[in-house]
Point group: C2
Chain length 534, copies 2
């Protein structure tokens, strides 16, 4: 049976590293400037900040005045608050409502295109707002002077918004990215060769094995991202570059010049692909062994007996699904022999069974790591997916928006999850899908295989992340891991100029040979004619 012990399936070597690397304190305290992105991105960043703080580093966090997650006061960091015109949250809320509705129907291509453009406009607005806030920072001479005087050792930022990169460029700080997404699309596409033939563009919903038609669609998806960066996101940052940097600057170059990329991913979760020497995979860095449950929850879980429990959560952003859907979910749950713990904030479904416990919040990690848990009904957010992998719990995924479908797809491809799209959602479908995940053994077996692979690393993802964060502080960067690629124009990078020259040379040789033959032939004929005339 699968061992539930923390870091269960490790060799002695990794066990030693796990036990001993974890509490290692740093020798010296560095000064870290953090420029985070709000929302779920902050949840991840905070995990890193906690660990950096525990290792004796001093942390300063730049936050917008309207932040809905990043608190001004914290025992972990000092904060610098920048006045923001409007809360980013309003953008996201408006978008979520729209996107959420669209997900419930199978849309036409035209409608899909329209929705995509609306989505891109919303992102554009968010970047414009962020740049407005950034300009306020650059305009505040006193603040900028104090940042310069503070002599930070490093900038830690999330490149989904590029403010941190511009600030680091201004302050001449080495940069560590806590990344998966950049201003447009996924981080790898900016720094590593990414053949579109087997690397699905996030949002395409494809795997690393595509048909010809899918490869065409994948290319079109990629062109949308290029368009977005060039015409929708880029200009706001270009304006900042032009105004505050002599000789200008360019966001994509700044992204490419980051010292270390701490990537919230790994190749147990994601499809294998080309990578770069300065990309460190810390997927699942936030996962920890399950802690004991609160007594009442433990009692509920144990009361399930041999049938075990199902855990359901659709994340923190969505408060409630439409009532017709929650009623159907509740009535399916009511028929099960399992007990269900459901994180649910909306109206209490009328069809709720006695076996289902509605909760406002739950210790999700500890529940997923509980031996009684049989399945996880989830929306497919990165955190939940990584925790499911870590604990080896099979997933029934109901993707709502963003990267959730793509995340779940990666599990489904390995036979460790089943996806039920909202457009296909109804009671019987949900019941059938849930039954499959509960009773079809390979789902659990495959997820536990992923869990074993994920846990079998020479050092823990978090220790790897901390090592490289401190490496950058020790060596004032990691430029030796960065390629010379981004100094070149695209036609040189792709050797287009060289190939054109070689083609021209080849053509020249052919032409010369052709001319030579022609001249020889004519001379021959002339001579023959002369001979005939004589």
């Amino acid at each position: 049976m699968y061992s539930r012990s923390p870091w269960g399936d490790l060799s002695f070597l990794s066990l030693v590293s796990f036990l001993l690397l974890l509490p290692a304190p740093s020798c010296h305290g560095g000064k870290v400037l953090v420029f985070p992105v709000d929302g779920s991105h902050w949840v991840n960043m905070k995990v890193l900040i906690e660990e950096l703080h525990a290792r004796g580093h001093t942390i300063t966090v730049v936050r917008p005045s309207t932040s809905w997650y990043i608190t001004e006061e914290s025992p972990l960091y000092t904060s610098i608050t920048i006045k923001e015109k409007e809360s980013l949250y309003s953008f996201f809320e408006a978008f979520l409502q729209k996107h959420f509705k669209a997900q419930q129907e199978v849309v036409s291509t035209l409608k899909f295109f329209q929705l995509t453009m609306e989505f891109l406009s919303m992102i554009e607005e968010a970047h414009i707002l962020a740049c407005d806030t950034l300009a306020r920072m650059f305009d505040d001479r006193k603040l900028m002077k104090s940042l310069q005087d503070a002599q930070y050792d490093m900038m830690l930022t999330d490149p989904a918004m590029a403010g941190g990169l511009l600030m680091a460029h201004y302050l001449k700080l080495p940069v560590v990215l806590n990344a998966r997404w950049i201003t447009s699309g996924e981080g790898h596409f900016a720094i590593a060769p990414s053949p579109l033939s087997y690397i699905p563009v996030p949002g395409s919903g494809f795997t690393d094995k595509m048909t010809f038609v899918q490869r065409v669609q994948n290319m079109l998806h990629y062109s949308i991202i290029v368009y977005q960066q060039r015409f929708m996101v880029g200009p706001s940052y270009d304006a900042i570059c032009a105004k505050y940097f002599e000789g200008g600057c360019d966001i994509i170059s700044l992204i490419q010049e980051a010292d270390i990329w701490l990537m919230r991913s790994d190749f147990v979760f994601d499809f294998p692909r080309p990578t770069m020497p300065n990309v460190i995979y810390m997927g699942g860095f936030q996962c920890k062994p399950a802690q004991p449950l609160p007594p009442d929850l433990e009692e509920f879980v144990q009361s399930a007996g041999e049938h075990g429990v199902i855990v359901m959560s659709l994340g923190t952003l969505v408060n409630a699904l439409p009532v017709d859907i929650t009623d159907q979910i509740a009535s399916v749950f009511a028929k099960l022999p399992q007990k269900v713990i459901w994180r649910h904030r909306g109206k209490r479904p009328s069809t709720l069974g006695n076996n289902t416990l509605l909760v406002d919040w739950m210790p999700q990690k500890d529940l997923l790591g509980h031996p009684q848990t049989r399945a996880f009904v989830a929306h497919g957010g990165t955190n939940g997916v990584q925790e499911a992998i870590y604990h080896g719990t099979p997933v029934l995924g109901i993707p709502l928006f963003f990267d959730q479908y793509d995340n779940l797809l990666r599990l489904q491809e390995r036979g460790a999850a089943k996806i039920l799209e909202l457009a296909m959602f109804n009671g019987p479908n949900f019941q059938q899908a849930l039954n499959q995940v509960l009773t079809h053994a390979p789902y659990r077996e495959n997820m536990q295989r992923l869990s074993r692979l994920h846990r079998d690393q020479p050092i823990k993802p978090m220790d790897k992340a901390l090592f490289w964060l401190e490496f950058v502080m020790r060596h004032k960067g990691a430029s030796h891991l960065r390629t010379s690629a981004n100094r070149m124009p695209w036609y040189s990078y792709h050797s287009v100029d060289v190939l054109l020259l070689l083609l021209a040379a080849g053509g020249g040789v052919l032409l010369f040979t052709g001319l030579l033959i022609r001249i020889l032939w004519r001379t021959c004929r002339k001579n023959r004619n002369k001979t005939k005339q004589h």
Copy 2:
């Protein structure tokens, strides 16, 4: 001052991993089949075998009867000896003599091309011989049956010769490569995207910053390697594939399908470049802290006083340089205030000074790690270069053949070594170059910076290698780290088919629009004419 303590400049975290991961014994003993390559490749492979043996694994080594390095008897492994028609060594000796002479003169392009073709022919002969030996193995039914019955857990092989890959394919074993070179060229080029615009082809003598002309030459160098694989090396293996494997097989595919690549390189030594998830960099895995010298050698070294010593060795393959060169070297040494330890096997130079000690063999690692050592005069073999990096000793390089120039170039680019080519060799040049390395502080500073970077890794290269070797045994491979790329034909991989379709579609739209305009125009004109006529 630079700390000379073993693994000197480490954070506490890496120190713990260094101290504790090293002696960790493996929980279970695996059965490893090793198919090595002879010569200096074996020197590296043996280091891995020693460690695997120490961790309780059982090792079987396949060796040719004429092997000049791989002994039949060993406390580390059981050997299987295959009768070989002729010794590979004879090929190499003939080549070395020829190549060595060519290095002493600045050759014309034509001569260079001729030499390259001779070199490739020699390599071709070596592969033909290896395939002949391999066929003998496959023909030996009893041997093959015993190999199948032995149920090995893993094949460990060096892909410079592809015998091990074919054997693993036959026995259906997971494969770990101890690699830098494959049958033709460098390993990365077979598995990772390798833009020729900034990745110099080994043998080209270029860095990662190339001029346009160099990029053209680099492309031509690459085409030679493709030609070599396709027409000179490939056919011998294809014959084996056709004869012994139903449905045939293909060497490059087998190379691409290896589970783990243990690469004898890293990005302190090599230029940063795209890589793949299953490539593990173990550059310097053979390096160990310096041990005390034998008393007489220590006495000699200490007698140098504040001036310190120079260590010189041109590797194990070259017994002696031409007499005129060694005489010039000796007379330059004689004038120095330093003492010199020179590994030299030929005639004793007539100009030898009292400060120079000629030795047949020397504890090179311990000398390079000695605080008295000021410079290393070396030919640039991988082992020596890695040891120089590990110990932070600046290098005066005299490259002779193979990858030596390229290895030294990587140090020279970082300001940690100076290259003196044989074609430029004379007494005054040698003296000037040596003086520069001895007195120009940046050489030492840069080398010690490389040393600090090399030593500052989350786990030691050897431990990383061992972890992944055992990982493959634990999980019966590492297929989750392998891309889907090599299932595709080249035109799909490079999206040529998709781009052609999109171009055709774009062209179609243009054509259609053009036709439409033409028809409308004609209709317009006709109507106008009709109106005029009325």
